[in-house]
Amino acid sequence: MSSSRFAVTSDRLSLEPLIGLVSAPGDAAPGRPGAVATFLGLVRERNLGRRVLRLEYEAHERLAVRAFERIDAEVRARWPTVRLALHHRVGRLEIGEASVAIAAGSPHRAEAFAACRYTIERVKQIAPIWKHEYFEGGDVWIEGATADPDDEQARQEALGRSCA
């Protein structure tokens, strides 16, 4: 498990270290948080009507960490008291295993929840990480939208969902 707040790793993910990373006093945020919101994304057994056997995640790792740092900067611009940690797993994952773990600490719960939701939406939009789904009867790369960190409309959509 990485001790960095932002990491791409082939190790199993766990929320505990991330909670520790956003709960430490000092750094940019003043003092210890009063709230930590967390998110764990798990490999689903069914996707688009298919029975999923396993997933393989591939990343441009250095660019992914930079994308995470960019999301962190966006979060701090919007919610200055939030301290964020975000780890994404790569390699082969079985059903039920965690692919992404997020912790957002802040003095109060509203910002923590909003920042956590915003972060997962932005990860899906701009992190250079690809999912190769192996299902019963075949396999497919899951491809959605072109990754464009400067797409302001996408950013506003993420913001809208996080503050709904």
């Binding site: 591939e58 990343a59 660019l63 899906k124 939009q125 690809w130 999912k131 959605g144 990754a147």
Partner: protein, 83 residues
């Protein structure tokens, strides 16, 4: 000048390689490198509208002019799930 090209996910599979180096013209842009690559590997051509790029580990517009030794990564669309 020479650039290193890196391919990810489905692009890597279609071209059957994850890294290659190519000689390009002095004023080449990211789009020029992609165009040459898609001619060399026609299976990549359908991605011309949806591919994005990173140069030296930073997202980059396709119009960026390259320098000798640059590392150019081509990225297929990301999962971008809405649920």
């Amino acid at each position: 000048m020479r650039v290193t090209i890196r391919l990810f996910a489905r692009l890597r599979e279609l071209a059957r390689r994850d890294e290659l180096t190519r000689e390009v013209g002095g004023a080449a842009t990211v789009a020029d490198v992609w165009g040459a690559l898609a001619r060399e590997f026609p299976a990549l051509e359908p991605y011309t509208r949806s591919v994005s790029a990173a140069v030296n580990d930073d997202y980059s517009p396709m119009t960026r002019a390259l320098a000798n030794g640059d590392d150019v990564a081509f990225l297929p669309p990301v999962s971008g799930g809405r649920r």
